[in-house]
């Protein structure tokens, strides 16, 4: 399985974190019916910081990052993104969504549009960018994810890894300040994981604020400023990657790491 790990694994990226606060979660709680999925979560993410969230399935890690761009509604606590508090105000939600890009496990590309149209839709309709400019911009990002030749194809004609790279490019076209990744490689064949992780490492090198839910521990070691371990809706342990992997403190973390490494 060595070939599924990014090449940059050997060296750790230099942190780009600044003191400016990008995301501030304060005592966030959420329930699905009577089931308490997120319990009193506090989290501060600085500008340029890269955070990897891991944990067993059902631990609430996906739900947590989906709360950040309000795909899920939290019931208690406050979430402040780039100085804007998430509340019932639809304008705030729409605004935050344009600042926060998101990449899903299942890609969620629009199958009825070509790759180029997938990329230009947001800039044209939300950012009101002229079509020609949006297309030039989109091609720039397609080149960055190394598939400019696929621009006129439809998502159904691409491999999983290519689709996920398109999804990343689609988010980047909106010029977001924060990127959220919800298990971006979990639905991919082993041979395709690397190409997606490589793109993500390159993105990390540009200083993007990133929160990544993933089980790719090699990737976590490479890019993360901080690794967060969640279980049963709580943050169990939080540390910089070396300490987290080499010297886990909590028993639950040790059990988890022993099972996946």
């Amino acid at each position: 399985m060595n070939n599924s790990k990014p090449e940059a694994v050997q060296g750790q990226l230099v942190s780009a974190a600044s003191s400016e606060i990008m995301i501030d979660l304060n005592k966030v709680n959420k329930w699905y019916g009577a089931f308490h999925v997120i319990k009193d979560v506090d989290l501060v993410v600085h500008k340029g910081e890269r955070i990897v969230v891991c944990g067993p399935s059902g631990s609430g890690k996906s739900t947590l990052i989906r709360c950040i761009n309000h795909l899920e509604k939290h019931q208690e606590g406050t979430i402040v993104v780039d100085g804007i508090t998430l509340d019932k105000n639809l304008k705030n939600i729409d605004h935050i969504r344009t600042e926060v890009g998101m990449v899903f496990q299942s890609f969620n590309l629009f199958p009825h549009l070509t790759i180029l149209e997938n990329l230009t839709l947001g800039p044209i309709w939300v950012r009101k960018m002229p079509k020609a400019e949006a297309e030039i911009n989109a091609m720039k990002y397609l080149e960055r994810v190394k598939i400019p030749e696929q621009a006129d194809k439809y998502p159904g004609q691409l491999s999983g890894g290519q689709q996920q790279r398109v999804a990343i490019a689609r988010s980047l076209c909106m010029n977001p300040k924060i990127m959220l990744f919800d298990e971006p490689t979990s639905a991919l064949d082993p041979e395709m994981i690397k190409e997606v992780l490589d793109v993500m490492v390159e993105l990390a090198e540009t200083g993007m604020t990133m929160i990544v839910v993933t089980h790719e521990m090699g990737f976590a070691k490479t890019i993360a400023d901080r690794v967060i371990f969640m279980d049963e809706g709580e943050i169990v342990e939080e540390n910089e990657p070396n300490a987290f992997f080499n010297n886990p403190q909590h028993e639950r973390t040790r059990l988890f790491l022993s099972q996946i490494l």
Binding site: P111, H112, L121
Partner: protein, 442 residues
């Protein structure tokens, strides 16, 4: 047991396959003795059925005669098509004044010319063309068909429709010949394509205003003789009712379906009750209600003619059916599509209009066109409440003294008419499905 491949296996042609005629016959029709016998029996049955039809309709059929009695004299067993020919104009135009039939023909031709650019390659602004057809053509056709004095509102809409018709047609011709769209063409020809945007806009608006005023003044100079709706009939009336029904069922159905899925309880309950009410009642009941009950709810002095009432009933009824079809399409769209749209910042209408609805409607093309075909056929029910649609006209033939009792031929002719129209729609829907399919395009 280790195994290592040592040589490549070359690709070979498949065994007897379905792509050759012989192979297809063998596999599908004469595979076993049992299926061979069955095939032969079915072929014999088909042969006798077709032969009987041929003898009745073609070889023994009578094409020229002045009455049914004459038909019998020529051939006692054959079909008497002469009756159909004698009533030909009525079957297509009802009791519309015979000297004014050109108005219906012109209305049909204008619609075709107006909409044809939608299917032409290289033509730009197709959405605008489609919208203008739906919004303005009814006024143009409405006046052509009814005639009479033009009110000021009708004059304005008629002029707008005529200006728009010429603009879209010119735009289509320019686009088809590869000259871009009409606006770009005008700017290029007047040498203003480098001028500031404001100047361009002013010039275009001036041209539009001059065109409108010219047409407005021109149309004041003539008017068409009034034709009351009771003289409408035949296939023309069927097309009017079905056309308006089809044009309004889809937008109405989309709005109702969205309403039914709305998060606002009032909207949801209203739409759901409306849909369920109309779906639980037969169309014929709705038609009777529309013509007998509807006037009771209207303020005194407010009179709608029967045709308008029927059209409203057909529209509402079919919008409700369409709503359920559209809703089924919406259910098939995975949640991830909404989330994908939300994460690039699209709001509700952007998500629905750009992402969800195009996919939902595409999935539902067979059902939507199926509804349209059903709608067209259901219009024959208006004959029960006394409108002379094509079916009613056909049945009238058998009561006309020279053609007394001519039932079979008229109904067969009606069946052929409906078959041609509906089969064409069905074929077109299949073509659309293939054309819009993006999943298997390689």
């Amino acid at each position: 047991m280790a195994y290592v491949k040592t040589k490549d296996t070359p690709s070979r042609t498949p065994p007897l396959n379905e792509s050759s005629v012989l192979g297809w016959l063998k596999i599908n029709l004469f595979d076993t003795l049992y299926s061979s016998v069955l095939t032969v029996l079915v072929l014999i049955a088909v042969f006798f059925a077709v032969k009987a039809l041929w003898v009745w309709g073609i070889s023994d059929g009578v094409w020229i005669a002045n009455s049914r009695r004459e038909c019998f004299k020529i051939s006692i067993d054959g079909a008497c098509w002469a009756g159909i020919f004698a009533w030909f104009d009525s079957i297509f135009y009802g009791r519309y004044p015979r000297t004014d039939l050109w108005r219906i023909d012109l209305g049909g031709i204008l619609l075709i010319v107006w909409m044809a650019p939608l299917w032409l390659p290289r033509v730009q602004g197709k959405i605008l063309i489609g919208l203008s057809t739906v919004a303005l053509y009814p006024f143009l056709a409405g006046y052509l068909f009814t005639g009479g004095d033009k009110g000021i509102f009708m004059q304005i809409m008629l002029s707008a429709a005529i200006v728009c018709f010429f603009a879209t047609t010119a735009n289509a011709i320019i686009g088809f010949l590869g000259g871009g769209n009409l606006i770009a063409f005008i700017l290029r020809k007047t040498g203003k394509n480098k001028a500031p945007e404001k100047q361009q806009r002013n010039m275009l608006l001036t041209i539009l205003a001059i065109g409108f005023i010219a047409v407005f003044l021109w149309q004041r100079g003539w008017s068409l003789e009034g034709v009351t709706w009771t003289r409408w009939g035949g296939l023309f009336l069927t097309f009017v009712i079905a056309g308006i029904g089809i044009a309004s069922a889809l937008p109405g159905g989309i709005l109702l379906a969205l309403g039914r899925r709305s998060k606002l309880p009032v909207v949801r309950v209203l739409c759901t009750s409306f849909i369920e009410l109309f779906r639980s009642v037969p169309l014929i009941t709705v038609l009777f209600m529309a013509t007998t009950m509807f006037p009771l709810f209207m303020p005194e002095g407010f009179v709608l003619n029967k045709l308008v009432q029927v059209i409203i009933a057909v529209c509402l009824f079919n919008a409700c059916y369409m709503a359920e079809t559209v809703r089924a399409g919406l259910q098939a769209i995975p949640r991830g599509q909404y989330e994908g749209a939300h994460t690039i910042g699209l709001g509700y209408w952007g998500t629905i209009g750009l992402i969800i609805m195009p996919q939902a409607l595409k999935h539902m093309i067979p059902n939507i066109v199926g509804s349209f075909i059903g709608l067209l056929k259901d219009t024959t029910l208006v004959s029960i409440i006394g409108l002379f649609d094509v079916l009613n006209i056909l049945r009238t033939i058998s009561r006309d003294s020279p053609w007394l009792g001519l039932h079979q031929e008229t109904l067969v002719f009606g069946a052929m008419l409906f078959f041609i129209i509906c089969f064409a729609m069905s074929k077109y829907s299949r073509h659309l499905e293939v054309k819009l399919s993006t999943t298997h395009k390689n």
